[in-house]
């Protein structure tokens, strides 16, 4: 039982079966589509492009309390991470991003908070049939129907979703909902291939990334960095909305006698990110910070983990207030090689 059909009319029943676990799905809010916990009895719709904020927040919350303590006491409390979660409708790029970020969080020291959440989460993906204008996943090793990182993938066949289990967690989910599903017929493979091919054709933006990781070190002082960063505002939009950006800052925060140690997302585009206590800043301007953002994704990460830390979701392009466009930057890098 690895490929099954779910009639769309049975979608609410399928969602209803997932009770007992924390359910996340894309939902419309004042800020556009975002992954948010689904309220009991609600049925999320899946007809959306990409969420503004990536689902990374389900495994790597923007702010996470590591432990609580009292200034004048000895009590230290650690929140327990036990809740199982299911993420519904994850796009292939965002699932791939989690696999990429896993490498960092399990590298020299295991990060217990992140890894525990990852262990407790089941990713139910939805293959893309209508890629966005700035999607370029196919240039960075992904694709609209990539299953990397997913436990179960759903493909929209019109009347039905085709459900394919990728991992044991996915198998288990299919087994739990077996009575709602039908066995897929033989012609479904052909239908699926056609849909995926069509979807790939719809991806308009592309860049040849083959020589970029090897070429970036040689462009350290290239004038292109000044050019592409001149208009940068130094805000955190590109990094906070990036599914692979994973930097954080740890602070102790106090309210009366209650204190907590928490970590929050940080951004290498902020001036204070690399600011030393002495006042020296090794990345003193937006030129160095922009250069770092590209090098981290396309050079250092490849060097260390053998994978580009960009999944081509296009969010940083869509939402940059001043049209700093990573595909355009990569093309300029390629030209400068």
């Amino acid at each position: 039982m690895s490929a099954m059909l779910l009639n769309k009319e049975k979608w609410p029943d399928f969602v209803g079966r997932l009770t007992g676990k924390k359910l996340w799905a894309p939902q419309a809010g004042g800020d556009g589509m975002r992954f948010a916990p689904v309220a009991e009895g609600e049925v999320p719709a899946l007809d959306y492009g990409n969420t503004r904020v990536p689902p990374k927040q389900a495994v790597f919350p923007q702010t996470e309390t590591l432990f609580r303590f009292q200034v004048d006491g000895e009590k230290v409390e650690e929140p327990k991470l036990e809740e199982e979660a299911v993420l519904l409708g994850v796009r292939p790029c965002d699932a791939r991003a989690m696999v990429i970020v896993d490498k960092l969080f399990s590298w020299d020291e295991d990060d217990p908070y992140y890894l525990k959440r990852r262990e407790l989460v089941t990713l139910v993906g939805l293959a893309c049939t209508e890629p966005g204008l700035n999607c370029f996943c196919t240039s960075v090793g992904g694709g609209p129907a990539s299953t990397e990182g997913l436990d179960l993938v759903m493909i929209d066949l019109g009347e039905n979703y085709l459900l394919e289990a990728i991992t044991e967690k996915g198998q288990a989910l299919l087994a739990e909902t077996e009575d709602l599903l039908e066995e897929a017929k033989d012609d479904v493979a052909e239908q699926k291939e056609k849909i995926i091919n069509e979807s790939e054709q719809k991806i308009k933006r592309s860049v040849n990334t083959e020589d970029i990781p090897g070429g970036l070190p040689g462009l350290w002082e290239d004038p292109l960095w000044q050019r592409v960063s001149a208009s940068c505002l130094g805000c955190g939009t590109c990094t906070f909305l990036c599914p692979t950006c994973h930097c954080f800052d740890i602070q102790d925060e106090t309210e009366g006698f209650d204190s907590r140690r928490c970590r929050s997302w940080d951004s290498c585009m902020f001036a204070e990110y690399t600011l030393h206590t002495s006042g020296h800043n090794p990345r003193p301007s937006r030129r160095e910070r922009t250069r770092n953002r590209i090098n981290h994704k396309y050079n250092y990460y490849v060097d260390k983990f053998d994978v580009i830390a960009c999944v081509g979701c296009g969010r940083c392009i869509n939402l940059c207030p001043v049209n700093i466009d990573i595909v355009d930057i990569l093309k300029q890098v390629e030209e400068a090689l």
Binding site: L133, L233, C235, S264
Partner: protein
């Protein structure tokens, strides 16, 4: 506006020896996007445009520029910055002069009378963005959207940005060079957005802003894009003492957004950039326009009109109204 004239003037200014670079608008990399262009020589001016898509207020770059320590023996580049401004943008320049945030002799202001910008999100919603760069032009009574070689006429009401509906100063209030004739001003619309929030009772208003601020991701794009948020040492970045915690939650997000709004009272020139750039779609314009309304109604003061004016928050007169102070 005559594009040839704009580029010709820009080329002359960019070529001037006392000008470091000229900041204007150029076509972006795709769709309706317009990017800020830093033009260093006469040739670069050929890239410049002025269209209903040039919503960005470039005045922020006057104070965003990073002054790095110079290598020994190297002289600082003290040349002027030339800047293209619409009516609202010019008010930011005037307000910066009031606050002595910039020196008048360090800027060359090129004024662009502005018939009103389109709302970029509304535009993309009605006429989806294309892979190729598209254009929008002004007509006598609206706009023409040109994408993939196809032209569509659209009425002014359909696409005009909210900040432009409310605009009282479409013509630059300050300039060294003015491009073209001033545009005819229009009757500003009633600010329904602010009215709506004002008319809520306290609980409803709290619930409204709670929902909005809960979406904030604290990327600080509103602060960074704001031409009048230029403190070298922002309270939001302070750690000792920490005025606003790094934790992203309703309480801290509210502290951040309210602090910013209050610091802008009597200073915000209503260019709407904060709201445009917010990736969480928080209606920051309503917040800032509410404070602008208070200052206008209670003190009869509007910022960014007269570079010689006294700064509102830093001046005191014995007869300042105080009947509304509890």
């Amino acid at each position: 506006m005559d594009l040839e004239k704009l580029r010709e003037t820009a080329a002359e200014v960019a070529a001037r020896e006392d000008v470091k670079y000229l900041i204007g608008w150029k076509k972006g990399t795709y769709g309706y996007r317009v990017a800020p262009g830093f033009i260093e020589d006469a040739d670069g001016a050929a890239e410049l445009i002025f269209s209903p898509l040039c919503t960005a207020n470039l005045a922020t770059y006057l104070t965003l520029v990073e002054k790095l320590p110079l290598p020994r023996g190297e002289e600082p580049d003290d040349r002027k910055t030339a800047l293209m401004v619409k009516g609202c943008d010019s008010r930011a320049v005037a307000q910066l002069l009031v606050e002595k945030g910039i020196d008048r002799e360090n800027v060359v202001v090129i004024g662009c009378p502005c018939p009103g910008m389109v709302d970029p999100e509304l535009l993309a919603e009605k006429y989806p963005e294309t892979e190729e760069p598209a254009e929008v032009k002004w007509t006598d009574d609206g706009f023409i959207v040109i994408r993939d070689g196809e032209e569509t006429s659209v009425s002014r009401d359909e696409l005009l940005a909210e900040k432009c509906r409310l605009c009282r100063y479409p013509n630059p209030v300050i300039s060294d060079i003015m491009l073209g004739e001033p545009v005819e001003t229009w009757e500003p619309a009633e600010d329904e957005g602010v009215n709506e929030v004002e008319n809520k009772d306290v609980d409803e208003r709290e619930a409204y802003w709670e929902e909005q601020f809960s979406n904030c991701v604290r990327c600080y794009s509103c602060r960074n894009v704001c031409p009048l948020c230029y403190c070298q040492d922002c309270i939001l970045d302070r750690l000792n003492p920490t005025w606003v915690n790094r934790s992203v939650n309703f309480s801290e997000n509210t502290a951040f957004n309210i602090a910013r709004a209050f610091h802008l009272a009597g200073r915000c020139i209503e260019c709407g950039e904060c709201e445009r750039v917010c990736p969480a779609n928080i209606p920051l314009g309503k917040l800032n326009r509410k404070l602008a309304r208070e200052v206008r109604d209670k003190y009869g003061f509007e910022p960014g009109l007269d570079p010689e004016a006294e700064p509102f928050q830093a001046s005191y007169k014995p007869d300042d109204p105080e009947d509304f102070i509890l």
